[in-house]
């Protein structure tokens, strides 16, 4: 039954793609959205069934793919990710009905979008190396095509897609090498064969494969220093695609690291997990710092994705570290916290990206320095963005708080420890988690405060109006889930716990309390989010009631005070750049902003300034120091290599002979 539904998911997805290619322009958006959402509904049904019953959905056909056929097996761990992707994709499809991005209704885009969604749903179900690499590459290529949709009108799209193409293929090459290494040593390419054969592999094989796989999946998850494509590609993608990429696709990077590290290899030595934790901590800090100083709304969200995936990897690394030092129960708690954060991140980041795309559609810009006052002009979308911002800043009673709390608990209960690796890693992890939290609060006060509140900073923002209903409905479902999961995390915690158990094959009892609250068995005190929300609600009603009882007169609207000046203009407000300026100063050594002041003088006298322009920019340090050098090195290598084939037939014959000799020597 569940296996049939899994097949149905694939088939409906393919039908949707065909419909996208065939349907006339008038119905295209509606037909594609409906069919893709139907495929997602099938996927969600399978995932929920697997999560409930624990029986894997298995499909195997020998004919569809070369080298071993198509092999799918969805267990509870994979089902969690399928469920997340399906929910985000359904909301994105509802959003898509009202969205009119440039070129997004073209035949190609409409054909590729369902393929991308189907690939997203199938990656966690793949059960052999070839199947996995096939759907993984399908996902990478289709998402690349979708990023490219608007490349004719805006040249920066092509640049972003170039970065994405290089990084995703680099990641795929690392994955291919790592998985093939495992498959050859296991003597079979199905995941089951690798899992049963992995314990007998030599340590260097396991270590090399893990590092290769972590690099491949890490680049998809936006892990620093492989993140450079993410803040370029996610903002340039059309609205629904950017939400799918940032809320669903990045998760699969985490899926892969956990699936291979904990599942196929059955855990590993401490250094693996210290590596994951270290890179996670770096990603969290670097991402949150850049998000705090970004002024492009979608770029800010993209950097915050790097930040959040960093936190998830921090949890995954801590879980592995606990397991390798014998703290089985804590390992499970840390993994649950990390996976819970994946679920919640998908909800709030999906809603934030969809609302940000609504703002972009209504105002034509995503530059925060040109927005402002949108909450009064777009009350529904604005409120949804506020909910998402509150959730990502981990404000109770929204969902982000619950997963951060649980991660803090896992780190707290790991202390005090006599194990040196834990003793170093845990305080650093706590510090990073706390610092990221503070920076995220600043980031989203900036995003919501500058973008939605105050006066509009441009005519486009001043004339903006509410977007079509389907657009805010799509974002609204995700924002509602942020609130629901924040108040009643017990709706998801058991499923996440089952998923974590499924992948680690953990038999530890507990370790979380049952019921409405979240907490660790054996530790006094729990987090009672429902009670907290109720308390806050009562307090707010009480205080507001007292205020209106004391002062019955209506609130008078007045001119804001401007030091005695009569006129207040929007240009007197702080912008996103000025809001983040103090922080840029504090972290000047890390961010190294570039300032450029151009003063031109009046021809008659140098003492009179004619015009002054000030330009400040903040680019990615990894991009500037690492990638630019690597790119120029590659270009140099290319120029060098170009000299070798100079057109002379003699030289080519010599190459042939040399190659033959080498082959004979190696084989002989």
């Amino acid at each position: 039954m569940t296996a049939d539904l899994l097949v149905a998911t694939t088939l409906v997805g393919l039908v949707a793609a065909a419909a996208g290619a065939a349907a006339p322009e008038r119905f295209r958006a509606r037909v594609v959205s409906a069919l893709t959402a139907a495929a997602c509904a099938c996927g969600l049904a399978v995932a929920l069934d697997v999560l409930r019953s624990g029986r894997a959905a298995v499909v195997h056909t020998g004919r569809l793919l070369p080298l071993g056929g198509l092999s799918l097996a969805l267990d509870r761990f994979g089902a969690l990710f399928v469920a997340i992707s399906a929910v985000v994709a359904i909301c994105a499809m509802v959003f898509r009905l009202g969205y009119d991005g440039h070129g997004f209704s073209s035949r190609t885009a409409s054909c590729v979008l369902p393929l991308f969604v189907t690939a997203l749903l199938l990656v966690p179900a793949a059960a052999s190396v070839t199947t996995f690499l096939f759907v993984w590459e399908l996902m990478a290529v289709t998402s690349l095509l979708l990023v490219l949709v608007d490349h004719r009108r805006r040249p920066e799209v092509a640049v972003a897609a170039q970065w994405y193409a290089v990084m995703t293929q680099f990641g795929a090459a690392a994955l291919l090498a790592g998985l093939v290494l495992l498959a050859t040593h296991a003597g079979g390419q199905s995941f089951a064969a690798i899992a049963s054969g992995s314990s007998g592999m030599p340590a260097w094989v396991r270590g090399t494969a893990f590092v290769l796989v972590a690099v491949g999946f890490g680049s998809k998850a936006g892990m620093v220093p492989l993140h450079v494509w993410l803040p370029r590609a996610h903002p340039e993608a059309p609205g629904p695609v950017s939400a799918l990429m940032s809320a669903a696709m990045v998760n699969l990077g985490v899926y892969g690291i956990v699936r291979v590290g904990d599942g196929l290899l059955g855990g590993g030595p401490a250094w693996w997990w210290l590596l994951v934790m270290g890179l996670g901590a770096l990603s969290a800090l670097f991402g949150s710092l850049h998000a705090a100083t970004s002024t492009d709304l979608k770029r800010l969200l993209a950097y915050s994705t790097t930040d959040n995936m960093g936190l998830v990897l921090l949890g995954v690394g801590a879980a592995g570290l606990f397991a390798s030092t014998g703290h089985r129960s804590l390992a499970l708690v840390a993994l649950v916290a990390a996976l819970l954060h994946v679920v919640f991140h998908a909800m709030f980041k999906g809603s934030l990206f969809l609302s940000a795309s609504s703002f972009q559609q209504a105002t034509g810009t995503r530059d925060l320095d040109r927005l402002g006052g949108l909450l009064r002009r777009m009350p529904v979308t604005g409120s949804l963005f506020l909910v998402g911002a509150g959730a990502i800043a981990a404000l109770p009673p929204l969902c982000g708080f619950v997963s951060e709390w649980l991660l803090l608990q896992a780190l707290l209960h790991g202390l005090p420890s006599s194990d040196p690796s834990l003793a170093i890693a845990l305080p650093v992890g706590v510090g990073v988690l706390a610092l990221t939290g503070g920076l995220t609060a600043l980031t989203f006060v900036k995003a919501a405060g500058i973008g939605l509140l105050g006066r509009p900073r441009g005519t486009q923002a001043a004339e903006a109006g509410e977007v079509p209903r389907s657009m805010w409905a799509g974002a609204g479902v995700l924002a509602t889930l942020c609130l629901v999961f924040g108040v009643a995390p017990s709706l998801v915690v058991p499923a996440v716990l089952d998923a974590a158990r499924a992948v680690t094959a953990s038999r530890v009892p507990g370790p979380l309390v049952r019921g409405w609250d979240v907490g660790l068995l054996g530790a006094r005190g729990v987090l009672a989010p429902g009670l907290l929300a109720l308390g806050l609600l009562v307090a707010v009603v009480l205080v507001a009631g007292v205020r209106s009882a004391l002062q019955r007169a209506a609130v008078r609207r007045t001119e804001a005070w401007g030091c005695g000046r009569e006129m207040q203009t929007a240009r007197m407000q702080y912008t996103a750049t000025s809001f983040g300026e103090p922080l840029t100063r504090v972290f000047e050594d890390v961010l190294t902003p570039a300032h450029d002041l151009d003063v031109s003088h009046v021809a008659e006298s140098r003492y009179y300034v004619e015009a002054a322009t000030f330009h400040t920019s903040l680019d990615d340090a990894f991009e500037r120091h690492g990638y630019r050098h690597a790119a120029s090195g590659l270009a140099w290598w290319g120029r060098l290599a170009r000299r070798v084939p100079n057109g002379s037939v003699h030289r080519y014959l010599a190459f042939g002979l040399a190659a033959l000799v080498v082959v004979l020597v190696v084989l002989g």
Partner: protein, 320 residues
């Protein structure tokens, strides 16, 4: 501990805590103002002057800048409401208050953050230069002081194996030796710096300044008037009391009632009032002695608090 407390006692303690924080906030601010004035050779307004101010403001008209949205009016309410919830669940008088099992230290820190975020959003909603300036500065200071508080809290939770405040208080009462460990002392200093930064006192922010260029908190609340301004002032003073009372709870827990009984609770009320008053006077004396820091030196102070707190966690490993 659990279950030993009869329901009326728990209810009475909760009401006492909330009323104490609501009334104690303005009184503490008045007292600190009085101490500062006396040290500077002035007479100063009476201690209960802030209460009179609140009564006056509550009857004045509320105004709202013409461009502001509902966020502007909601912010003061959220500020006071979050502080009320903290006052209700924190073990200020007894180790087992109502809902004490849910009084998680991290949750309390994040509730404080909700209040700060609400106020910053309200400031940005005014659409003026001052609102943005205040919000930007306050969030920059907060971006470093909130983490310091969080890590300091974690260092305190490690020996108790729980981040539940009543548990931490009860266990430190049972093991007084804990109070002199290095991690306690380090997190104590970090906590103090955070209190100064969060409540906008000298040397981070001057609460009595009216010079625009140096304002942080005052710049954020410039546009509030009438009952809204009363709520902002009340909320700020309540936050100060709650932070000082939590500090007293965590570092000098003696006096908190561990068993039910009118006598115990009476002792607890006197003890917490004395501790908060003493801390308030100490803070006021300190304020007279120091000058305000340049804005761009403040992050050094809060970053220092953060480093101290991380050191506290590290030393929690050495001294279990």
């Amino acid at each position: 501990m659990t279950g030993a407390w009869p329901l009326p006692a728990v209810a009475a303690i909760s009401v006492l805590q909330v009323l104490g924080v609501v009334a104690g906030g303005p009184l503490l601010v008045g007292l600190m103002r009085k101490v500062r004035c006396r040290l500077e050779g002035r007479v100063g307004p009476p201690v209960h002057q802030p209460l009179l101010d609140l009564r006056k403001l509550a009857r004045r008209e509320r105004t709202r800048p013409d461009q502001a949205s509902w966020i502007f009016s909601a912010a003061p309410v959220v500020l006071v409401a979050t502080t009320l919830v903290i006052a209700l669940v924190a073990p200020l008088l007894a180790t087992d208050p109502a809902f004490g099992w849910s009084a998680d230290l991290f949750a309390l820190v994040y509730l404080l953050l909700v209040g700060s975020v609400a106020l910053a959003l309200g400031a940005l909603d005014t659409g003026t230069a001052f609102g943005g300036m205040g919000a930007s500065r306050a969030m920059t200071i907060g971006a470093l002081s909130e983490p310091a508080l969080l890590v300091a809290v974690l260092a305190l939770s490690v020996p108790a194996r729980s981040s539940n405040v009543p548990t931490i208080v009860a266990r430190s009462l049972a093991h007084p030796a804990w109070l002199a460990t290095p991690q306690r002392l380090l997190s104590l200093v970090a906590f103090l710096i955070v209190i100064v930064a969060e409540s906008g006192r000298l040397p981070v922010d001057n609460p009595s300044t009216h010079l625009e260029l140096t304002m942080v908190h005052e710049a954020m609340v410039l546009e509030y008037s009438g009952a809204d301004l009363a709520l902002v002032k009340l909320g700020e003073s309540m936050r100060l009391v709650v932070l000082l009372a939590l500090f007293a709870d965590l570092f000098v827990p003696w006096g908190v009632a561990t068993a039910p009984g009118v006598g115990h609770v009476a002792v607890a009320v006197v003890a917490i009032a004395a501790k908060v008053t003493a801390l308030g006077i100490a803070l006021a004396v300190f304020e007279v002695a120091v000058a305000k820091l340049r804005l761009f030196r403040v992050p050094e102070l809060t970053a220092g608090a953060f480093v101290l707190a991380v050191l506290a966690v590290v030393s929690a490993l050495v001294v279990p």
